[in-house]
Symmetry: C2
Subunit: 378 residues, 2 copies
């Protein structure tokens, strides 16, 4: 499970002479292990820290609170992985998750060299955790590792593609339902809660859901969570869905209309659809991300519209927005195995808006579309 991810990481650390590391970024932890704790109601109350990985001697040791033991267990099946549990709380004694974690970390490090380099994801490592490391290894030097693994995450493994395809299939089910139900008098939240329900029923479990569900007459009509805005005749509704199953994000967007779209809306829709086709036609190994961004924007501009202010696209994986970002400054060349989203849009503030979005797997000579939701005009 996620063995290739760990091998890529070991190779990178070795190149930099780093033999020990503490990974604390939740995205990193999921990518290295496949372990993805539930997120919908915020962090576990009794965890002393988000999950941590102590890496040493080729072994990735995942340290999690007791209530996540079952979910973390699959890592233990791997020769290069191990799970260690600390007690978050009991009802017999005052809360002691923090000292329990600190003791666990010190125990883990007690045979390690007390000096030398230790790579640390500083942006997510708490002072409490770093103090425990310093107590165990008083003269080590912390080397910041933040961001190091993000480039390694760009090319997806076969195991990741299975998870991503499952997620894209869920978004399709949500879009199919949205297309069926959108009509005047429904509110954004009515549409959303129905989409969410069909997705969870299909998955057979809870599934976190992003991103946007917004009527065109909102003044800020580019992005936003659903609220009580009611669909009226001639309204557009941008529905942008990301599911997060097994720790992997999908993404997808379509625009629906409460009634027969107006001439303006049809024109916007055609232009955005053509822009997406143009972007798609450019996807192949060696193409620079910013070339796709520039050409897609130019197309919208040349059609006479204000160019969208957001990115043209982005990678997806253990996070919803990741490398390669399809933006003006990014000269990263696409590689086979990357999964990218493209999502051009046109927005007339306070009036209407259209955005369309698909996912693509970069193949040996082009793109395979991973999203299959119907984005056509009704």
């Amino acid at each position: 499970m996620h063995k290739e991810q760990r091998e890529r990481t070991v190779a990178l650390l070795k190149r930099h002479g780093i033999n020990r590391a503490l990974f604390a970024n939740p995205h990193t932890v999921t990518w290295l292990t496949g372990f993805a704790p539930p997120i919908q109601t915020g962090p576990n109350f009794f965890q002393a820290s988000s999950p941590l990985i102590w890496y040493e001697g080729g072994l990735f040791i995942l340290v999690v609170v007791d209530t996540q033991a079952t979910l973390a267990a699959p890592l233990d099946q791997n020769a290069d992985g191990k799970v260690i549990i600390y007690m978050g709380h009991t009802v017999q004694e005052p809360l002691s998750g923090v000292p329990n974690l600190q003791i666990t970390l010190r125990e883990l490090m007690k045979r390690s060299r007390v000096s030398g380099k230790v790579g640390v994801e500083m942006n997510h490592c708490s002072l409490m955790v770093s103090n425990a490391i310093e107590q165990a290894l008083p003269t080590v030097e912390f080397v910041p590792l933040d961001g190091w693994l993000e480039p390694l995450r760009m090319v997806k493994t076969d195991e990741e593609l299975v998870k991503l395809r499952q997620n894209f299939a869920l978004t399709e089910i949500g879009h199919t339902r949205a297309r069926q139900i959108v009509k005047p008098s429904l509110r954004e939240i009515d549409v959303w809660s129905e989409i969410h329900a069909v997705i969870e029923r299909e998955a057979g479990c809870r599934v976190p859901l992003g991103n946007d569900c917004i009527v065109g007459y909102r003044q800020q009509n580019v992005e936003g969570w659903p609220k009580g805005y009611e669909l009226r005749a001639k309204d557009s509704l941008i529905v942008d869905l990301s599911t997060i199953l097994h720790g992997y994000w999908s993404d997808s967007c379509a625009t629906y209309f409460a009634t027969e779209p107006t001439a303006t809306q049809k024109k916007l829709h055609q232009t955005v659809s053509d822009a997406l086709d143009l972007g798609r036609s450019m996807i192949r190994p060696g193409m620079k991300a910013n070339q796709i961004d520039m050409r897609t924007r130019q197309f919208i501009e040349q059609a006479g519209y204000n160019v969208y202010r957001h990115h043209t696209g982005h990678g997806v994986g253990v996070s919803g927005h990741e490398e390669p970002r399809i933006v003006s400054y990014n000269e990263t060349e696409l590689q086979q195995g990357m999964v990218i989203m493209l999502e051009p849009g046109i927005y007339l503030p306070g009036q209407t808006g259209v955005r369309l979005e698909d996912a693509y797997l970069v193949t040996v000579d082009g793109a395979e579309q991973l999203t299959h939701h119907d984005k056509s005009l009704p």
Copy 2:
């Protein structure tokens, strides 16, 4: 907005001679300010840290990423509150949320004394944030503040009671729907997604939802998120609902039955109901939390059942489980204004289970029930 919370905090810090502090625990941040960022899809991708509060000279400065500016804005209306925004990302330049936050923090602290005490919530303060503080104030001494504010959170303000009552009303709507629909052949997730949808439709916005939805024949039938387990004849279904609106948690539990409950289930239900009544009858200012815990457990034991292994109850507020915990070691005396949950249960592993839960506001001489869902036998 949340002025009383800040006053209580200032009084506590003054008693300890602390004039500066960094609050980093998300629960603390919500409690001090009323600011509650969305949680359902995990942390904002572009934030460099969860929201922070820098306290100095009577002023609470909330530091948030630009995309949360609107949600954080109400704090700026208060004489003792201020909001500072840092840029999380743009599409024009490489990601620079972390350096932006570090610069923002150093700027904030540049007129502060470079030595002396600074209170810090160490369990939630990242190394990246602490490094920024140390650069600005190189010789300060960090005083750990973790857990200091939890006792202050026990007695609810009128403003908090309004938010809590709104949340308890939402759970009632969810339970009403669950009672209507539970029947053989539905799966846990079917019941759950319908509950979630009616709650969000009522609220007119997205509402995170915990806790449990589990059929009695699961081997571990005390707690768990809904899955694909199908209700069959004679099955019990524990439905434990927490909504989180405006950053405040509710809680509530009832047990439903797929068909007419069996004689065993009726007996469990009566015993648990009586245990809950007993617990409720003890609520008044001055009663110790562990007395309620002990008496409620004894009641279940004397009825001839294995005693539940979880707590008898707990406080709710900006978190779902907080002080006063109704557990054996807790000698905290109840005070007027506390809000506590009681939730006795009886579980026959792999067969059936019953749990019932209500919320109570401690009044001058007893308890006001805040949950009004129907918990009766069908």
